[in-house]
């Protein structure tokens, strides 16, 4: 069909007959090249999962499920359990979320709904730039600026007035779970706030105006149209931030104090799954220690995989449901009437 319509093709068809065979060779090559590239990524992913599992198998087979229940991590006694590392990871991440979520949602609301354009653009750029700061720089800043600051002011204050709470007891040095949590919070704010802004953008302008039209103040409008409407997406954004916090390594390693133990006080040093890998992998001297470290890596990999999938599903569902609300999709075919046949036609063509 195309051959008949395209005069250039007809021309070349008569001129060089032998070229006809190869006219789509580049297309085919390009297609298979790109296909191979995409598949190699998928292959790489599963290969990585497999290799890490294989390397950590000695530890899993040696300790069994005990690996996740044992809180002791001692290379002298060859007793390795991930519980204290999981604890350190979970506590710092939760602390980070508690601090980061209100700030991020607030920043996102301000930038997308309230700030005038001339302020919103540079400000959102700066927030995004927070994500571009290398992890190690955060770590250095945390160690030399944030930790002393926490020790001299915040922790001193908490220890003095809130020492009846188990979270704020014992000696404080600055470095520890609290410092790790604060650093993580700063690091995940750009992630959460940028996803939140994206989610807020999916809410149609007319929804906002409808609430305003009912005589709502600006805050009531934000509450009803924006926050309520995007709650699924906000949860997705939070989980995305959590995924980042769980895997964050360098900055946390530098400020957490590196002591694999389970203590309730946030002043205490701890160890996360990622930080113990950074600390000990180079020095692990026997197979069981190495395998146990890899097993921690595998656990972390698996955990962040699940968390990220969950986050993507939530954000995706949110985007789909908000864009599907308006009747256009559902009713376009009904209101068009005669052009319904046009839709059938495109549907058919796809099948062929």
């Amino acid at each position: 069909m195309i051959e008949k319509l395209n005069p250039i093709f007809v021309f070349s068809f008569f001129k060089k007959k032998e070229k006809k065979k190869d006219i789509h060779a580049q297309d085919r090559f390009f297609y298979f090249f790109l296909k191979a590239l995409s598949w190699s990524l998928i292959f790489l992913f599963f290969y990585m999962l497999f290799v890490i599992f294989q390397m950590s198998w000695p530890a899993f087979s040696h300790f069994g499920m005990n690996f996740f229940v044992n809180a002791d991590w001692n290379s002298w006694t060859q007793s390795f359990g991930a519980l204290s590392l999981v604890y350190g990871t979970v506590v710092t991440s939760i602390l980070a979320l508690l601090l980061a979520v209100p700030v991020s949602v607030g920043v996102a609301l301000f930038l997308s709904e309230l700030a005038p354009n001339w302020l919103a653009k540079p400000l959102s750029f700066i927030v995004e730039m927070l994500a571009a700061v290398p992890s190690i720089v955060y770590g250095l800043w945390g160690l030399f600026v944030l930790a002393p600051l926490l020790r001299d002011y915040i922790q001193a204050f908490l220890s003095k007035y809130f020492h009846f709470l188990p979270f704020f007891q014992g000696p404080y040095y600055g470095v520890g779970m609290m410092c790790g949590g604060v650093i993580l919070a700063i690091m995940i704010i750009p992630t959460i706030s940028s996803v939140c802004r994206e989610v807020f953008r999916t809410i149609p302008k007319s929804n906002r105006e409808a609430v305003l039209g009912l005589g709502a103040t600006r805050w009531e409008m934000l509450k009803i149209a924006v926050l309520r409407g995007s709650s699924t997406g906000i949860i997705g954004a939070v989980i995305m931030g959590l995924g980042r916090a769980l895997g964050e390594t360098m900055a946390v390693t530098m400020v957490i104090g590196n002591a694999p133990s389970i203590k309730i006080s946030l002043f205490e040093p701890a160890q996360t799954m990622a930080s113990i890998l950074a600390n000990q992998y180079a020095e692990a001297d026997n197979e069981l220690h190495l395998a146990s470290l890899t097993a921690v890596g595998f656990t972390l990999f698996f955990l962040s995989l699940i968390i990220n999938i969950l986050a993507f599903l939530l954000v995706w569902k949110m985007k789909r449901s908000t864009t599907g609300i308006s009747s256009t999709k559902r009713f376009s075919s009904a209101s068009r009437g005669p052009s319904l046949s046009g839709l059938d036609y495109t549907g058919k063509e796809k099948k062929e």
Partner: protein, 254 residues
């Protein structure tokens, strides 16, 4: 025929976006308990005009406005007037049905009442009344807890009308309320509009000439931001006094 009272009086109203004029010196009087249709080609300023009447125009960045709009004798652009209170008197229905996501059918209607601080005891009654006024009650009375967004497009639009009626506005602005709906839903909404004028004054923007002639008592024709002609609908559609009006309604341009 008895003399009808003027509810909204627009005086010398001009509006602009980023100092590009959209409306030029509009003067218009809207009688109480009537349906007034605004017609005109796309981009002639109909929607902007509508949005000037409940102070929604100023919500968009770059918006400028001059002139006065008197609602029940009160200039809504007077400096001491709170736009939030204006919008409680002047409701608005949008082009696409937009029930609030995440809210049930009941809450969609109740939300405006809650904002006004209506007591819980009378809340249900008020919601029921508004849904009845919007001719939706019989269809949704058993599924009030279901999401508002689960209704069909036509039902969603009637839900939006119910939500607007719930706070007892004196004027309801409708911006092409049926352009996203199928013919049957459109007919229902048109019937509803004719019933509504017993209680409220309706100003409706439409691209559909037949709709304007079916539902409205008076029609205003706007062209590039200027009011060309305003008069009884029957007269505008059968015997327009201006040549531009005639060529528009007969389909010669626009």
């Amino acid at each position: 025929m008895k003399e009808t009272k003027t509810l909204v009086k627009i005086q010398d109203l001009s509006a602009s976006f980023f100092s590009i004029p959209v409306l030029k010196n509009i003067d218009l009087e809207i009688p109480i308990h009537k349906v007034v249709a605004l017609i005109g080609p796309s981009g002639c300023g109909k929607s902007t005009f509508l949005r000037c009447l409940n102070r929604m125009h100023e919500e968009v960045s770059g918006a400028g406005i001059q002139g006065q709009v008197f609602l029940e004798g009160q200039n809504i652009y007077a400096p001491y007037i709170d736009p939030v209170l204006v919008r409680r008197k002047v409701g608005m229905v949008f082009q696409k049905p937009n029930p609030f996501p995440g809210l049930s059918i009941f809450d969609n209607v109740a939300v405006g009442l809650k904002l006004m601080g209506v007591k819980r005891k009378v809340l249900f009654e008020r919601v029921e009344n508004s849904l009845k006024q919007a001719a939706l009650w019989d269809e949704v009375k058993d599924i009030l807890k279901r999401q508002g967004t689960s209704l069909s497009g036509g039902q969603q639009q009637r839900l939006c009308i119910a939500r607007t009626l719930a706070i007892n506005p004196s004027v309801v602005l409708m911006d092409e309320p049926t352009s996203a709906l199928d013919p049957i839903s459109t007919a229902r909404i048109e019937g509803l509009i004719r019933e509504l004028k017993e209680k409220v004054t309706v100003i409706i923007v439409t691209h559909n000439m037949q709709q304007a002639s079916r539902v409205s008592d008076k029609t205003a024709f706007l062209l590039s931001g200027e009011l060309i002609e305003y008069g009884k609908t029957s007269q505008i559609f059968t015997n327009p006094s201006k040549g531009k009006t005639e060529s528009y309604i007969t389909g010669r341009f626009g």
